[in-house]
Amino acid sequence: MTEPSGDVREALIQTAYLASSVLFILGLRGLSDPAKARNGMRQAMLAMLLAVIGTLMHHDIVRFDWIIAGLAVGSVIGVVIGLPLGVDIPMTAMPQFVAISHLFGAVAATLVGVDEYFARATRPSTFVMTALGFEVILGALTVTGSFMAFAKLQELIGGKPITYPGQNYGNITLFLLTVGLLVYQVLVPGQPVLFFLMLGLAALIGVLMVLPIGGADMPVVISLLNAYAGLSASAMGFALNNNLLIVAGALDGASGFLLSVLMCKAMNRSFSNVLFGAFGGTVASSKSAEGLTVREVSIEDAAVRLAYAGSVIVVPGYGLAVARAQHLIREMADLIEKKGGQVRYAVHPVAGRMPGHMNVLLAEAEVPYDKLCDMDEINADFDRTDVALVVGANDVVNPAARSDPSSPIFGMPILNVDHAKSIIVMKRGMGAGFAGIENELFFDPKTSMLFGDAKASLAKLVAELKTL
Protein backbone atom coordinates (compact mmCIF):
# COMPACT_ATOMS: atom_id res chain seq x y z
CA MET A 1 0.00 0.00 0.00
CA THR A 2 2.87 2.41 0.56
CA GLU A 3 4.64 0.99 -2.50
CA PRO A 4 5.96 4.12 -4.24
CA SER A 5 4.76 4.11 -7.85
CA GLY A 6 7.45 4.62 -10.44
CA ASP A 7 6.00 8.02 -11.08
CA VAL A 8 9.15 10.12 -10.90
CA ARG A 9 7.34 13.28 -11.89
CA GLU A 10 4.97 12.94 -8.95
CA ALA A 11 8.00 12.53 -6.69
CA LEU A 12 9.61 15.65 -8.14
CA ILE A 13 6.45 17.69 -7.65
CA GLN A 14 6.08 16.49 -4.09
CA THR A 15 9.71 17.28 -3.30
CA ALA A 16 9.27 20.80 -4.63
CA TYR A 17 6.12 21.17 -2.53
CA LEU A 18 7.81 19.85 0.58
CA ALA A 19 10.75 22.21 0.17
CA SER A 20 8.29 25.02 -0.44
CA SER A 21 6.35 24.27 2.76
CA VAL A 22 9.53 24.22 4.83
CA LEU A 23 10.71 27.49 3.26
CA PHE A 24 7.41 29.16 4.08
CA ILE A 25 7.83 28.17 7.71
CA LEU A 26 11.44 29.32 7.85
CA GLY A 27 10.41 32.52 6.12
CA LEU A 28 7.81 33.41 8.72
CA ARG A 29 10.31 32.42 11.37
CA GLY A 30 12.71 35.04 10.03
CA LEU A 31 10.23 37.69 11.11
CA SER A 32 11.10 37.00 14.75
CA ASP A 33 14.20 39.18 14.31
CA PRO A 34 14.33 42.44 12.33
CA ALA A 35 17.87 41.62 11.22
CA LYS A 36 16.77 38.31 9.68
CA ALA A 37 13.36 39.44 8.44
CA ARG A 38 14.25 40.39 4.87
CA ASN A 39 16.10 37.17 4.40
CA GLY A 40 13.07 35.31 5.68
CA MET A 41 10.90 37.01 3.09
CA ARG A 42 13.33 35.96 0.36
CA GLN A 43 12.88 32.38 1.56
CA ALA A 44 9.12 32.84 1.37
CA MET A 45 9.41 34.17 -2.18
CA LEU A 46 11.58 31.21 -3.13
CA ALA A 47 8.94 28.98 -1.55
CA MET A 48 6.28 30.54 -3.75
CA LEU A 49 8.49 30.08 -6.81
CA LEU A 50 9.04 26.40 -5.98
CA ALA A 51 5.30 26.02 -5.52
CA VAL A 52 4.66 27.37 -9.00
CA ILE A 53 7.40 25.31 -10.64
CA GLY A 54 6.22 22.17 -8.89
CA THR A 55 2.67 22.80 -10.03
CA LEU A 56 3.66 23.43 -13.64
CA MET A 57 5.17 19.90 -13.69
CA HIS A 58 1.72 18.53 -12.91
CA HIS A 59 0.53 16.07 -15.58
CA ASP A 60 -2.98 17.56 -15.56
CA ILE A 61 -1.49 20.69 -17.06
CA VAL A 62 -1.71 20.33 -20.83
CA ARG A 63 -1.62 23.94 -22.08
CA PHE A 64 0.27 27.01 -20.95
CA ASP A 65 -1.25 29.88 -22.98
CA TRP A 66 -3.90 30.69 -20.38
CA ILE A 67 -1.40 30.31 -17.57
CA ILE A 68 1.10 32.68 -19.13
CA ALA A 69 -1.66 35.19 -19.85
CA GLY A 70 -2.82 35.05 -16.24
CA LEU A 71 0.67 35.31 -14.79
CA ALA A 72 1.52 38.24 -17.06
CA VAL A 73 -1.62 40.24 -16.31
CA GLY A 74 -1.36 39.45 -12.60
CA SER A 75 2.28 40.46 -12.32
CA VAL A 76 1.69 43.75 -14.08
CA ILE A 77 -1.28 44.71 -11.92
CA GLY A 78 0.53 43.42 -8.85
CA VAL A 79 3.52 45.65 -9.52
CA VAL A 80 1.27 48.60 -10.31
CA ILE A 81 -0.51 48.19 -6.99
CA GLY A 82 2.54 47.22 -5.00
CA LEU A 83 5.18 49.65 -6.18
CA PRO A 84 3.66 53.06 -5.39
CA LEU A 85 2.72 52.01 -1.86
CA GLY A 86 5.38 53.24 0.52
CA VAL A 87 6.65 55.60 -2.13
CA ASP A 88 3.88 58.12 -2.61
CA ILE A 89 1.03 56.27 -0.94
CA PRO A 90 1.34 56.72 2.85
CA MET A 91 2.02 53.72 5.04
CA THR A 92 -1.32 54.51 6.66
CA ALA A 93 -2.81 52.93 3.54
CA MET A 94 -1.34 49.54 4.50
CA PRO A 95 -4.62 48.12 5.81
CA GLN A 96 -6.47 49.12 2.64
CA PHE A 97 -3.76 47.54 0.58
CA VAL A 98 -3.80 44.30 2.51
CA ALA A 99 -7.59 44.26 2.21
CA ILE A 100 -7.58 44.69 -1.57
CA SER A 101 -4.79 42.16 -1.92
CA HIS A 102 -6.79 39.60 0.06
CA LEU A 103 -9.74 40.30 -2.12
CA PHE A 104 -7.82 39.08 -5.16
CA GLY A 105 -6.42 36.03 -3.40
CA ALA A 106 -9.88 35.09 -2.22
CA VAL A 107 -11.36 35.57 -5.68
CA ALA A 108 -8.82 33.07 -6.98
CA ALA A 109 -9.67 30.54 -4.28
CA THR A 110 -13.38 30.91 -4.97
CA LEU A 111 -13.04 30.58 -8.73
CA VAL A 112 -10.92 27.46 -8.37
CA GLY A 113 -13.53 26.02 -6.03
CA VAL A 114 -16.34 26.67 -8.49
CA ASP A 115 -14.33 25.23 -11.38
CA GLU A 116 -13.41 22.14 -9.39
CA TYR A 117 -17.06 21.66 -8.49
CA PHE A 118 -18.06 21.52 -12.14
CA ALA A 119 -14.94 19.56 -13.14
CA ARG A 120 -16.35 16.87 -10.86
CA ALA A 121 -19.69 17.15 -12.64
CA THR A 122 -21.23 18.81 -9.55
CA ARG A 123 -21.06 15.40 -7.84
CA PRO A 124 -17.81 15.26 -5.86
CA SER A 125 -17.32 12.75 -3.05
CA THR A 126 -18.61 13.61 0.42
CA PHE A 127 -15.14 14.56 1.55
CA VAL A 128 -14.30 16.70 -1.47
CA MET A 129 -17.72 18.36 -1.42
CA THR A 130 -17.21 19.36 2.20
CA ALA A 131 -13.77 20.74 1.40
CA LEU A 132 -14.97 22.61 -1.69
CA GLY A 133 -17.91 23.96 0.31
CA PHE A 134 -15.64 25.47 2.95
CA GLU A 135 -13.32 26.73 0.25
CA VAL A 136 -15.97 28.73 -1.59
CA ILE A 137 -17.85 29.86 1.53
CA LEU A 138 -14.70 31.22 3.17
CA GLY A 139 -13.49 32.51 -0.18
CA ALA A 140 -16.65 34.42 -1.10
CA LEU A 141 -16.98 35.76 2.44
CA THR A 142 -13.41 37.06 2.29
CA VAL A 143 -13.96 38.68 -1.09
CA THR A 144 -16.92 40.79 -0.05
CA GLY A 145 -15.63 41.32 3.47
CA SER A 146 -12.31 42.61 2.22
CA PHE A 147 -14.06 44.85 -0.26
CA MET A 148 -16.21 46.37 2.49
CA ALA A 149 -13.16 46.89 4.67
CA PHE A 150 -11.37 48.52 1.78
CA ALA A 151 -14.34 50.75 0.96
CA LYS A 152 -14.68 51.88 4.57
CA LEU A 153 -10.98 52.64 4.95
CA GLN A 154 -10.91 54.56 1.66
CA GLU A 155 -14.07 56.30 2.84
CA LEU A 156 -15.84 55.18 -0.36
CA ILE A 157 -18.58 54.46 2.15
CA GLY A 158 -18.98 55.90 5.63
CA GLY A 159 -16.43 54.59 8.10
CA LYS A 160 -18.97 54.74 10.91
CA PRO A 161 -20.35 51.38 12.03
CA ILE A 162 -23.82 50.64 10.64
CA THR A 163 -26.04 48.88 13.13
CA TYR A 164 -29.70 47.88 13.23
CA PRO A 165 -31.76 45.88 15.70
CA GLY A 166 -31.35 42.11 15.61
CA GLN A 167 -28.25 42.49 13.49
CA ASN A 168 -26.24 39.75 15.17
CA TYR A 169 -29.14 37.29 15.23
CA GLY A 170 -29.68 38.01 11.56
CA ASN A 171 -26.07 37.28 10.72
CA ILE A 172 -26.01 34.11 12.78
CA THR A 173 -29.18 32.79 11.14
CA LEU A 174 -27.69 33.58 7.77
CA PHE A 175 -24.52 31.75 8.69
CA LEU A 176 -26.39 28.66 9.90
CA LEU A 177 -28.45 28.74 6.73
CA THR A 178 -25.31 28.74 4.59
CA VAL A 179 -23.74 25.87 6.49
CA GLY A 180 -27.07 24.04 6.30
CA LEU A 181 -27.01 24.38 2.52
CA LEU A 182 -23.52 22.88 2.48
CA VAL A 183 -24.53 19.93 4.64
CA TYR A 184 -27.54 19.30 2.41
CA GLN A 185 -25.35 19.28 -0.70
CA VAL A 186 -22.89 16.90 0.94
CA LEU A 187 -25.78 14.50 1.46
CA VAL A 188 -27.55 15.20 -1.83
CA PRO A 189 -24.93 16.19 -4.43
CA GLY A 190 -25.50 17.51 -7.93
CA GLN A 191 -27.38 20.75 -7.26
CA PRO A 192 -25.49 23.63 -8.85
CA VAL A 193 -28.30 26.05 -8.07
CA LEU A 194 -27.97 25.46 -4.35
CA PHE A 195 -24.19 25.69 -4.76
CA PHE A 196 -24.46 29.20 -6.13
CA LEU A 197 -27.11 30.13 -3.60
CA MET A 198 -24.63 29.07 -0.90
CA LEU A 199 -21.95 31.14 -2.59
CA GLY A 200 -24.23 34.17 -2.68
CA LEU A 201 -25.21 33.85 0.96
CA ALA A 202 -21.55 33.60 1.96
CA ALA A 203 -20.83 36.79 0.02
CA LEU A 204 -23.75 38.48 1.78
CA ILE A 205 -22.36 37.39 5.17
CA GLY A 206 -19.05 39.01 4.24
CA VAL A 207 -20.81 42.33 3.70
CA LEU A 208 -22.99 42.19 6.80
CA MET A 209 -20.08 41.04 8.92
CA VAL A 210 -18.10 44.21 8.23
CA LEU A 211 -21.02 46.70 8.27
CA PRO A 212 -21.18 47.09 12.07
CA ILE A 213 -17.43 47.56 12.43
CA GLY A 214 -15.90 51.02 12.74
CA GLY A 215 -13.16 52.11 10.39
CA ALA A 216 -10.53 52.11 13.08
CA ASP A 217 -11.28 48.52 14.06
CA MET A 218 -10.65 47.41 10.50
CA PRO A 219 -7.12 46.12 11.08
CA VAL A 220 -8.55 43.51 13.42
CA VAL A 221 -11.12 42.47 10.83
CA ILE A 222 -8.57 42.48 8.04
CA SER A 223 -6.22 40.10 9.75
CA LEU A 224 -9.26 37.99 10.58
CA LEU A 225 -10.08 37.93 6.86
CA ASN A 226 -6.45 37.01 6.32
CA ALA A 227 -7.10 33.95 8.46
CA TYR A 228 -10.24 33.11 6.48
CA ALA A 229 -8.39 33.42 3.19
CA GLY A 230 -5.76 31.06 4.57
CA LEU A 231 -8.33 28.52 5.69
CA SER A 232 -9.97 28.74 2.28
CA ALA A 233 -6.62 27.83 0.73
CA SER A 234 -6.30 24.94 3.20
CA ALA A 235 -9.75 23.73 2.21
CA MET A 236 -8.63 23.85 -1.42
CA GLY A 237 -5.70 21.72 -0.36
CA PHE A 238 -8.06 19.14 1.15
CA ALA A 239 -10.12 19.11 -2.02
CA LEU A 240 -7.14 18.77 -4.36
CA ASN A 241 -5.26 16.56 -1.86
CA ASN A 242 -2.40 19.07 -1.96
CA ASN A 243 -0.30 19.29 1.21
CA LEU A 244 1.42 22.52 0.29
CA LEU A 245 -1.91 24.31 0.11
CA ILE A 246 -2.89 22.82 3.45
CA VAL A 247 0.35 23.89 5.14
CA ALA A 248 0.53 27.41 3.72
CA GLY A 249 -3.15 27.92 4.40
CA ALA A 250 -2.84 26.73 7.98
CA LEU A 251 0.15 29.01 8.57
CA ASP A 252 -1.93 31.94 7.36
CA GLY A 253 -4.94 30.90 9.36
CA ALA A 254 -2.88 30.71 12.52
CA SER A 255 -1.07 33.99 12.03
CA GLY A 256 -4.27 35.80 11.06
CA PHE A 257 -6.15 34.69 14.15
CA LEU A 258 -3.24 35.23 16.51
CA LEU A 259 -2.60 38.72 15.17
CA SER A 260 -6.19 39.85 15.52
CA VAL A 261 -6.31 38.44 19.04
CA LEU A 262 -3.11 40.29 19.93
CA MET A 263 -4.57 43.51 18.57
CA CYS A 264 -7.72 43.10 20.63
CA LYS A 265 -5.66 42.35 23.73
CA ALA A 266 -3.55 45.47 23.22
CA MET A 267 -6.74 47.55 22.88
CA ASN A 268 -8.04 45.51 25.76
CA ARG A 269 -11.28 44.60 24.06
CA SER A 270 -12.69 41.13 23.71
CA PHE A 271 -12.73 39.59 20.26
CA SER A 272 -16.53 39.52 20.23
CA ASN A 273 -16.61 43.13 21.36
CA VAL A 274 -14.68 44.12 18.25
CA LEU A 275 -16.80 41.94 15.95
CA PHE A 276 -20.22 42.76 17.40
CA GLY A 277 -19.49 45.73 19.66
CA ALA A 278 -19.67 48.39 16.92
CA PHE A 279 -17.21 50.31 19.08
CA GLY A 280 -14.83 51.92 16.61
CA GLY A 281 -16.05 55.40 15.84
CA THR A 282 -18.85 55.63 18.38
CA VAL A 283 -18.45 58.77 20.45
CA ALA A 284 -18.75 57.62 24.05
CA SER A 285 -17.67 60.74 25.89
CA SER A 286 -17.50 59.63 29.51
CA LYS A 287 -15.91 62.38 31.60
CA SER A 288 -16.42 65.86 30.17
CA ALA A 289 -13.83 68.57 30.63
CA GLU A 290 -15.93 71.38 32.09
CA GLY A 291 -14.04 73.99 34.04
CA LEU A 292 -10.70 72.57 33.09
CA THR A 293 -8.22 74.80 31.29
CA VAL A 294 -5.38 73.87 28.95
CA ARG A 295 -2.00 75.62 28.88
CA GLU A 296 -0.59 76.46 25.45
CA VAL A 297 3.08 76.80 24.71
CA SER A 298 4.79 78.79 21.97
CA ILE A 299 7.11 77.16 19.43
CA GLU A 300 9.99 79.14 20.91
CA ASP A 301 9.44 77.99 24.49
CA ALA A 302 8.90 74.40 23.36
CA ALA A 303 12.13 74.50 21.36
CA VAL A 304 14.09 75.85 24.33
CA ARG A 305 12.70 73.22 26.69
CA LEU A 306 13.57 70.45 24.23
CA ALA A 307 17.01 71.86 23.47
CA TYR A 308 18.08 71.87 27.12
CA ALA A 309 16.31 68.66 28.19
CA GLY A 310 18.63 65.87 29.35
CA SER A 311 16.21 63.13 28.39
CA VAL A 312 13.28 63.26 25.98
CA ILE A 313 10.78 60.51 25.21
CA VAL A 314 8.78 60.96 22.01
CA VAL A 315 5.32 59.35 22.08
CA PRO A 316 4.10 59.00 18.50
CA GLY A 317 0.46 58.34 17.70
CA TYR A 318 -1.95 58.10 14.84
CA GLY A 319 -1.70 61.83 14.28
CA LEU A 320 1.96 61.51 13.35
CA ALA A 321 0.97 59.08 10.62
CA VAL A 322 -1.82 61.36 9.40
CA ALA A 323 0.55 64.33 9.30
CA ARG A 324 3.31 62.11 7.78
CA ALA A 325 5.79 64.00 9.94
CA GLN A 326 8.03 61.01 10.77
CA HIS A 327 11.05 62.44 8.95
CA LEU A 328 10.73 65.76 10.80
CA ILE A 329 10.54 63.94 14.16
CA ARG A 330 13.76 62.15 13.29
CA GLU A 331 15.40 65.42 12.28
CA MET A 332 14.31 67.07 15.52
CA ALA A 333 15.62 64.13 17.55
CA ASP A 334 19.01 64.42 15.84
CA LEU A 335 19.16 68.12 16.72
CA ILE A 336 18.32 67.47 20.37
CA GLU A 337 20.93 64.72 20.53
CA LYS A 338 23.51 67.06 19.02
CA LYS A 339 22.77 69.34 21.95
CA GLY A 340 23.50 66.39 24.27
CA GLY A 341 20.00 65.27 25.15
CA GLN A 342 18.95 61.62 24.97
CA VAL A 343 15.93 60.87 22.75
CA ARG A 344 13.93 57.65 22.68
CA TYR A 345 10.57 56.67 21.25
CA ALA A 346 7.85 55.03 23.33
CA VAL A 347 5.81 52.84 21.00
CA HIS A 348 2.44 51.70 22.29
CA PRO A 349 1.34 48.38 20.76
CA VAL A 350 -1.83 49.89 19.33
CA ALA A 351 -0.64 53.39 18.61
CA GLY A 352 -1.77 54.24 15.12
CA ARG A 353 -4.27 52.17 13.23
CA MET A 354 -2.52 48.89 12.61
CA PRO A 355 -0.24 46.63 14.66
CA GLY A 356 3.31 47.93 14.71
CA HIS A 357 2.12 50.99 12.77
CA MET A 358 4.45 53.43 14.57
CA ASN A 359 7.41 51.11 14.19
CA VAL A 360 7.02 51.00 10.43
CA LEU A 361 6.43 54.74 10.29
CA LEU A 362 9.55 55.62 12.27
CA ALA A 363 11.62 52.93 10.60
CA GLU A 364 10.68 54.66 7.34
CA ALA A 365 12.38 57.76 8.77
CA GLU A 366 15.44 55.58 9.44
CA VAL A 367 15.11 55.65 13.21
CA PRO A 368 17.27 52.68 14.30
CA TYR A 369 15.02 50.09 15.90
CA ASP A 370 16.96 49.97 19.16
CA LYS A 371 15.51 53.42 19.91
CA LEU A 372 11.94 52.18 19.43
CA CYS A 373 11.01 51.01 22.93
CA ASP A 374 8.07 48.77 23.80
CA MET A 375 5.63 50.00 26.42
CA ASP A 376 6.80 47.62 29.18
CA GLU A 377 10.40 48.44 28.36
CA ILE A 378 10.09 52.21 28.78
CA ASN A 379 7.10 52.84 31.02
CA ALA A 380 9.24 52.86 34.17
CA ASP A 381 11.57 55.50 32.71
CA PHE A 382 9.02 58.30 32.35
CA ASP A 383 9.58 59.32 35.99
CA ARG A 384 13.19 60.10 35.13
CA THR A 385 12.32 61.93 31.89
CA ASP A 386 12.52 65.72 31.53
CA VAL A 387 10.19 66.13 28.56
CA ALA A 388 7.66 63.69 27.16
CA LEU A 389 6.73 64.88 23.65
CA VAL A 390 3.35 63.49 22.60
CA VAL A 391 2.90 63.79 18.84
CA GLY A 392 -0.57 62.99 17.60
CA ALA A 393 -1.20 60.35 20.24
CA ASN A 394 -4.27 60.46 22.40
CA ASP A 395 -5.96 57.25 23.61
CA VAL A 396 -2.67 55.47 24.25
CA VAL A 397 -1.70 58.18 26.76
CA ASN A 398 -5.13 58.67 28.34
CA PRO A 399 -4.89 58.27 32.14
CA ALA A 400 -8.60 57.46 32.20
CA ALA A 401 -7.57 53.95 31.18
CA ARG A 402 -6.05 53.69 34.64
CA SER A 403 -8.35 55.82 36.77
CA ASP A 404 -11.86 55.96 35.31
CA PRO A 405 -13.76 52.64 35.35
CA SER A 406 -16.60 54.24 33.38
CA SER A 407 -14.26 54.97 30.47
CA PRO A 408 -14.57 52.71 27.42
CA ILE A 409 -10.80 52.24 27.40
CA PHE A 410 -10.59 51.52 31.13
CA GLY A 411 -8.04 48.79 31.77
CA MET A 412 -6.17 49.28 28.50
CA PRO A 413 -2.45 49.42 29.32
CA ILE A 414 -1.19 52.94 28.54
CA LEU A 415 2.08 54.85 28.42
CA ASN A 416 2.73 56.64 31.73
CA VAL A 417 3.38 59.96 30.05
CA ASP A 418 1.82 61.76 33.02
CA HIS A 419 4.77 60.56 35.16
CA ALA A 420 7.23 62.64 33.13
CA LYS A 421 8.61 65.87 34.66
CA SER A 422 6.93 67.88 31.90
CA ILE A 423 4.77 67.08 28.90
CA ILE A 424 4.34 68.72 25.50
CA VAL A 425 1.39 67.55 23.42
CA MET A 426 1.23 68.28 19.69
CA LYS A 427 -2.17 68.01 18.07
CA ARG A 428 -4.36 70.16 15.85
CA GLY A 429 -7.00 70.97 18.41
CA MET A 430 -8.97 69.35 21.19
CA GLY A 431 -10.22 66.64 18.87
CA ALA A 432 -10.78 63.22 20.36
CA GLY A 433 -8.90 60.09 19.38
CA PHE A 434 -10.18 56.87 17.97
CA ALA A 435 -12.01 56.00 21.16
CA GLY A 436 -13.73 59.39 20.96
CA ILE A 437 -13.25 60.37 24.60
CA GLU A 438 -11.86 63.28 26.60
CA ASN A 439 -8.25 63.04 27.78
CA GLU A 440 -7.43 64.51 31.21
CA LEU A 441 -3.75 64.48 30.30
CA PHE A 442 -4.29 67.61 28.20
CA PHE A 443 -5.52 69.44 31.31
CA ASP A 444 -2.69 68.22 33.52
CA PRO A 445 -0.76 71.18 35.02
CA LYS A 446 2.47 69.59 33.78
CA THR A 447 1.10 69.52 30.23
CA SER A 448 1.47 72.27 27.67
CA MET A 449 -0.31 71.99 24.34
CA LEU A 450 1.30 72.88 21.02
CA PHE A 451 -1.67 73.17 18.67
CA GLY A 452 -1.38 72.74 14.94
CA ASP A 453 -0.78 70.08 12.35
CA ALA A 454 2.11 67.93 13.55
CA LYS A 455 4.09 68.43 10.34
CA ALA A 456 3.76 72.20 10.43
CA SER A 457 4.58 72.47 14.14
CA LEU A 458 7.56 70.13 13.86
CA ALA A 459 8.93 72.05 10.88
CA LYS A 460 8.81 75.25 12.96
CA LEU A 461 10.37 73.46 15.95
CA VAL A 462 13.24 72.15 13.85
CA ALA A 463 13.87 75.61 12.40
CA GLU A 464 13.82 77.06 15.89
CA LEU A 465 16.13 74.39 17.30
CA LYS A 466 18.67 75.09 14.54
CA THR A 467 18.85 78.73 15.66
CA LEU A 468 19.55 77.78 19.28
Binding site: S21, I25, S32, M48, A51, D60, I61, G74, A229, G237
Partner: protein, 98 residues
Protein backbone atom coordinates in the same frame (compact mmCIF):
# COMPACT_ATOMS: atom_id res chain seq x y z
CA UNK B 1 -7.14 3.85 2.79
CA UNK B 2 -9.18 6.84 1.64
CA UNK B 3 -10.08 7.57 5.25
CA UNK B 4 -6.40 7.34 6.04
CA UNK B 5 -5.47 9.88 3.38
CA UNK B 6 -8.16 12.20 4.65
CA UNK B 7 -6.81 11.86 8.17
CA UNK B 8 -3.27 12.40 7.01
CA UNK B 9 -4.39 15.71 5.55
CA UNK B 10 -5.93 16.57 8.89
CA UNK B 11 -2.62 15.73 10.58
CA UNK B 12 -0.76 18.01 8.20
CA UNK B 13 -3.31 20.74 8.82
CA UNK B 14 -3.22 20.46 12.61
CA UNK B 15 0.57 20.26 12.81
CA UNK B 16 1.00 23.18 10.41
CA UNK B 17 -1.43 25.12 12.57
CA UNK B 18 0.69 24.45 15.65
CA UNK B 19 3.82 25.53 13.82
CA UNK B 20 2.07 28.66 12.61
CA UNK B 21 0.93 29.67 16.07
CA UNK B 22 4.33 29.10 17.61
CA UNK B 23 6.24 30.88 14.86
CA UNK B 24 3.95 33.89 14.82
CA UNK B 25 3.85 34.20 18.61
CA UNK B 26 7.61 34.76 18.42
CA UNK B 27 7.24 37.78 16.12
CA UNK B 28 7.85 41.04 18.05
CA UNK B 29 5.29 43.87 17.90
CA UNK B 30 7.98 45.79 16.01
CA UNK B 31 7.31 43.59 12.98
CA UNK B 32 3.55 43.06 13.23
CA UNK B 33 2.73 45.17 10.20
CA UNK B 34 5.26 43.37 7.99
CA UNK B 35 3.94 40.08 9.35
CA UNK B 36 0.43 41.11 8.36
CA UNK B 37 1.43 41.81 4.78
CA UNK B 38 3.69 38.76 4.62
CA UNK B 39 0.80 36.53 5.68
CA UNK B 40 -1.25 38.31 3.05
CA UNK B 41 1.34 37.53 0.39
CA UNK B 42 1.30 33.88 1.39
CA UNK B 43 -2.47 33.64 0.90
CA UNK B 44 -1.53 33.96 -2.76
CA UNK B 45 -0.71 30.25 -2.53
CA UNK B 46 -4.15 29.69 -4.06
CA UNK B 47 -2.11 30.34 -7.20
CA UNK B 48 -1.23 26.64 -7.10
CA UNK B 49 -4.83 25.58 -7.55
CA UNK B 50 -5.44 28.28 -10.11
CA UNK B 51 -2.58 27.13 -12.34
CA UNK B 52 -4.00 23.60 -12.50
CA UNK B 53 -7.38 24.92 -13.63
CA UNK B 54 -5.90 27.38 -16.12
CA UNK B 55 -3.70 24.73 -17.71
CA UNK B 56 -6.16 21.85 -17.62
CA UNK B 57 -7.68 20.33 -20.72
CA UNK B 58 -11.17 20.75 -19.27
CA UNK B 59 -12.18 23.23 -21.93
CA UNK B 60 -12.72 26.94 -22.29
CA UNK B 61 -14.64 27.85 -19.12
CA UNK B 62 -12.14 26.03 -16.90
CA UNK B 63 -9.23 27.71 -18.60
CA UNK B 64 -10.87 31.13 -18.49
CA UNK B 65 -11.84 30.87 -14.83
CA UNK B 66 -8.41 29.42 -14.10
CA UNK B 67 -6.64 32.19 -15.94
CA UNK B 68 -8.57 34.87 -14.10
CA UNK B 69 -7.77 33.04 -10.85
CA UNK B 70 -4.10 32.92 -11.78
CA UNK B 71 -4.11 36.65 -12.48
CA UNK B 72 -5.82 37.44 -9.17
CA UNK B 73 -3.56 35.16 -7.14
CA UNK B 74 -0.49 36.62 -8.83
CA UNK B 75 -1.60 40.13 -7.93
CA UNK B 76 -1.86 38.97 -4.31
CA UNK B 77 1.59 37.35 -4.38
CA UNK B 78 3.52 40.03 -6.27
CA UNK B 79 1.89 42.95 -4.51
CA UNK B 80 2.16 41.29 -1.14
CA UNK B 81 5.86 40.50 -1.35
CA UNK B 82 6.73 43.85 -2.93
CA UNK B 83 5.24 45.88 -0.12
CA UNK B 84 6.50 43.54 2.62
CA UNK B 85 10.03 43.83 1.34
CA UNK B 86 9.78 47.59 1.02
CA UNK B 87 8.60 47.81 4.61
CA UNK B 88 11.38 45.58 5.91
CA UNK B 89 13.97 47.50 3.93
CA UNK B 90 13.11 50.47 6.13
CA UNK B 91 14.09 48.75 9.37
CA UNK B 92 17.64 49.93 9.92
CA UNK B 93 20.03 47.98 12.11
CA UNK B 94 21.15 49.88 15.22
CA UNK B 95 24.35 51.69 14.28
CA UNK B 96 23.57 51.41 10.55
CA UNK B 97 21.69 54.55 11.55
CA UNK B 98 22.66 56.93 8.60
Amino acid sequence: MATLTAFMQVYVFVLAGFVGFQVVSKVPALLHTPLMSAANAITGISLVGSLVAAGSGRGFTSNLLGSIAVACATINVVGGFLITDRMLKMFKRPGADK
